[in-house]
């Protein structure tokens, strides 16, 4: 899920909730959400960066932090779409980004499949 101030506020308000499980879940979600905000900053920096090697490092970082989604098509929206729409995006970067997205998605699906509900 992409970061938004409303969502951030809602989760932040739950950080001290009476319910043990509610506040623990709020911490985890808020941490992940705030990192998603950084993804948008990385993409923005990537689009304006002119140094080739730094662009690659920004691309790596965005790929590491950005949520890959669990279904094909998730990347049509949000940070990945913004990345792919970068003007003049070299083919090697495009291909690399797609490959990394797929790998991270597969890893995430595997992780989620192993998850048990209480």
């Amino acid at each position: 899920m992409r970061w938004s101030p409303d969502l951030d506020d809602a989760l932040y308000a739950l950080r001290r909730d009476e319910d043990w499980f509610a506040r623990e879940s709020a911490w985890q979600a808020l941490e992940k959400l705030r990192l998603q905000r950084e993804v948008d900053r990385l993409i923005s920096a990537f689009r304006s960066e002119t140094d080739h090697a730094r662009r690659w490092s920004l691309l790596d970082a965005a790929q590491d932090l950005g949520h890959p989604g669990v279904v094909d098509g998730y990347g049509r929206f949000g940070w990945f779409a913004a990345l792919m729409e970068t003007e003049g995006l070299p083919y090697s970067m495009r291909k690399y980004a797609l490959k990394r997205l797929k790998e991270r998605r597969e890893a995430l699906i595997k992780k989620l499949e192993g998850r048990k509900r209480d």
Binding site: R15, E38, S57, A61, D72, R76, S92
Partner: protein, 1344 residues
Amino acid sequence: MMNGVAYQLLWSLLRVWKATVRDVLEGPTLLQPRGVTLILEPPEGGDLEMPGAVEQIKARSTGRPWSLEEVIRDVLPDLYKACRSRTTPTRYRFVTEGSMGAWEDVYHSFRSLPARRVDAGDPLAALDDQQEFASATKNRALARKIKEAGGRYTERGILLYIARVLAGEESTGKGERKVRRPVQDSPDVLHRNLLRLLANFEFEGDRQWPVIEDEVARELSARGVKDHALEQKLDSLVGGFLRRAREGGAVVDRAKFLAQHGLQAIPLLAWDLIARESQFSLVRSLALHGYKASEDCRERKPLLNLLQAAGGEPIVAWGESGQGKSWLLYGTAEELARRNEVVLLLDSSQDVLRDRDEAARLFCERIWGTDERYSLDRLAQKVRQEVPEHSGGIWLTVLIDGVKDRNYLATLVQQEWDAIGVRVAVALTTDTNAPERVDEGVLPLSVRDFSQREVLRYLRLQLGTDTLLPPQDILRLLRHPLWARLFCELVSGGGQWQSNNEYQLIEGYWTGQAAHAPIATDALTELASQLIDGGDYPWPLSRLRAIGIDEVAMERLLLTRLVRWGRSGRVLELWHERLLQWAISEGLVAGLRAGRLTSQSLRDRLRACIEGAGGRRFGYVAMDVLWLLSGPESPRDQDILGLLQLFEEIDGFFDLISTLGNRIVPHLFVRLRQIAGESSYSEIRYLEMLESMSDPSIAGFAVDMLNDSSICLQKAAARVLAAHGSTEALDRLWALYREWSRNVKAQREEGLAEESEVDFHDVVQTDKALQTCVRLAPNWLEQAISNADPATDPVHTLIFLIPRVVQGQEVWHRVKRVAFEKVRPERERCLAVCITHFHDCEEVPWLEERVNGRGDSLAPMARKGLYLLSPEGALRPIDPDVEFDLALARSWWLPPLQLEFPQETAKLLLDTIRAAERPWIAACLYDGRENWLSEETLELLLDTTNELLVRELEEPSPSNHEPLGRPFDRLSEISHPDLLKLFWRRRGTELERNLAAWLIREGPWEEMWKRHALDVGLAVLHKIAGDGIFEVANSYLERATTYWGRDEAFELALRASDKRTIEFLTQIAFQEQEHLAGAETHLLDQREALQVLAERGYDKTVIRGVVRWGLRLPPDFAEYLGGRALGDVELTSALEDLSLDPMPPGAILALGMSGRPEMEETILSLFNRVEPASKQALASLLALEMLDARSEVSEQAFLRAREIQDHRFVARRVLNRFEARRATNESRAQVARHVWEQRDDLWALFEENESLETLAHLDNEEVREYLRERALSESAWGGQPSAHYDAVRALTQLAPSRTGSHEGRKGIHQPGTRRQRPCSDLFDRRSSRPDLKPASPSAMAERF
């Protein structure tokens, strides 16, 4: 003379049919034609009379034309006699083989009389007497006679002449003969009648004998007379006519006459009547099967569409018994009939050839109406001959219900249905749970359960809108159509059905119905149980009689509504296969209870049912029998145990045991007691089964088992109780927990763990059971804490339970003083948990004293509690001795502090790490959460890493020790933009130089597997993004001896390169040596090098490489050139080599990569010059594809290439794009409609490269509900590939989430934007088939 008679009879015969076709009226059965009679040789005159017409029939085998004079002399006298006796409008027809002579002008003139006004006083006044007919010159003799009689060859003159002939005043031929019986009418009457005759006179000439004979034969054939019997039938009919015609005025009743000669069939020519008769036949058949369209809530479209789309393949609607396959066929049949199609519905005999014969018989007897027998092939041939509109297409649909044997399908597909114009659909019952692909050559259609909407509609239709609907769990069960029907019958019959499982439902239904005829039903169950050995079914009357079912018993049996008459009305069957299996089970259990069967023979029979030993498989019987045996009134314990043992051995049946619900629970425990302690697979499965069941009785049985003296049983019981809590188990569990934890502790101290009956795992399991059982027992817990002996009892375990109970807060406040006293110091974490859980602010000081408490993870829990109750306490300095504890449980306390107090927390951690002797060890407080490092801490760690690098470069560690592995690993995880900049700041610094030096010293890594330290070290170098990248790359490119050694270098070179890097890459790009992999060589190094060179803009070198390696380069290679237009200078090598013979394919490819549209013409010219199947031709096609050539000429080239084996993939791929470009919204919606209709056969969709995602183009509520159902379903078995995800994607497009929703909608609806992809993607995906790999992965990118 005889010829004339025969001709007359033959014509009359033809009239028998010709007169009928137009005269059909809708009678009671809608098909009875109006009673038509023909009169042979009517006494009033003429040869043949039929409704509305009198005919005079004359043969003339010479074909000579009839002159007017001959007609006046030989035809009109007889017709006049017929005319004078009739007042109703009648046609007077002359039928003959000859043609009309030269007097058409006279004929047409008299035919126009009805349009003229006739003076009642002077009828002749309407006739012209001034203008002679032009044909006078060709009828000189007649004209002369008329003149001699005082007239002229005019209308009036001719009529007066005819009147004179009829009155006997004129001779009528060469022999000057007068008419035999002159007319005695007065001139006025004669003239009036004659005027009427001539006005209604018709000349039907040129009716040649052979033509009439053919027509008659065709009529006979269309009524079912076989070819070889035509002549005989014709003779018989003519003979029949002759006999009747011997006496004048013979009346022929057509219906009777046809029936007498077996010709009552509907002529095939009248196909609309055939279709209507098919409807009537179907109505009868549906009524016999109890089908009521008004109660059918199923959608028929899937089968209808498959039937219409099928290319001759039979359709197999398959599914479990009771899924509604029969009604699907019935509904479809009705719909087809409504569309005027001829359709047959039949119950399968399980033999395809017999079913074919039955279909032919039904068509002949019930629809066509002939007594003749034809095979389906002959029928097809006849229909195609007789019915022009069915000469090549489908004329019959056969729907076959009740197929049970999969082998049937093999024979079914061997029939040439398409060739004979017959469409076939069968309903196949499979009682296996796992859906399989049905055999090749058929179109499968899965008949699934009702949707929620369908079942609700069904219940409302059946029970009315006022009836309360059952609860959700029952509704779920009722989605099975059979149960929905049973439910409705129970409820509408006033039954008190309450259960929520299948067995109760069917048992309730059976018992209720059997009450109408208990003895006869019992006898029937015994008969049913014999089917396992292969008895006849449905039961013939003789079989029923043999078991004592007489007329009275049968009458009562039919009242039960369990049975119905079979096809012929002479066999009896249960109305549903599922009921048959229940009857078998009833029979078996009754046999066992009555002593007719032994336990062993029961097991043998059940095995036979499962394995289908008697020729048929009865998959439901096993569980039905188990259900009946475990009935609470008189359970058969030993037999049940025997069956449980049997099912343990049979795949797929053990898992079904739990479906029996609570009545099987006691028996499961009995069996578990038998095998507990064996650690067998069965024991584990029984335990898992009990854990997964939700019956409340389970806990009681588990408590009993817990109280057993056997430790094995106690352990099993504890596991079950962890899933099904019971307060009654608490004392025993607590006792066992204490005992076992003491034993485990003692064993651990004495090192005897392996020899003990209990281990740590059992203690944990018991703890879990305590947690579940204690929930509703706060008093017990309070009492237990109060009674616990701190010296011997694990009091902390009880304290941990307090947050688990309802009213835990009150319990905590009541017992906490006792708890603080009794919990031993090394177990205090339980107290911190309770303080935190219940926000006990009174105990903040207690927590503060323990922020650096040692052991038992006390310190992290204390800091967690303090974060909530007094945050400053949580940020107190960290004692080095508890660093490890705090790091180990960092997720308990650090996240909330970092979120709410980032700076203070960062300082605390920085101070701790800075003070640590080995900062990277202390830095494990950040492990897994490196992006939360503060900038100062990262700077510190980068400096520390550099120091480690310096030491390593000075004195390398032993090979089994990687001191840099951990720092690099942690640093490589950092992606936060603020932290990334700190890496960039290290560009050109000592850290980068040392890191590069270390990587150069340690690399290149020449193996296929990775060395972790080196790998993560390179990742850190990537982050620094400085010159170190190409320094390492150059070193690796220079020194590596394998592809694996160079692999990393290529990636580095993509990121940064210098002149030397380019030199290395150029050299590698043209090296002849290739990478060895197995028995083949691969162009790996050259490809990688050229890709980097292309990306870096060394176009001239790249084009040389393309020319050199040609088709061996990857299909997406052109993409690396980034769409730049290449000039002639860059293309020099390619342009030069185009003149070589043979032309290198790479030179053509290079033109495709040029990015210059004008090259299309050149490439097409080359394509037309080279051999169509050559590599050069393939290169041309690929080059056109790269240029995105869209001209018609190019499309033609691809169409031609589609026929070439090696070129067809690229051709199809590009042609698909042509098609996609032409696609409209309507065509997309059409594809979506196809997917909707096929949605029950996801495999077929998968094979068509379609998916549910396409449904995004059909936005209606039904589609959305279906997609939601799919998307929310947790089942994702292999037979439904990606259905869940496809549904999610479709919903995303129909109703995108709030974030990005506007963009998503724009993407779909706004043409011209880049986000229009969701639509075009539908078509691009076709190119993602394995055989259509896109040359350009930009298409692949659309699916991210």
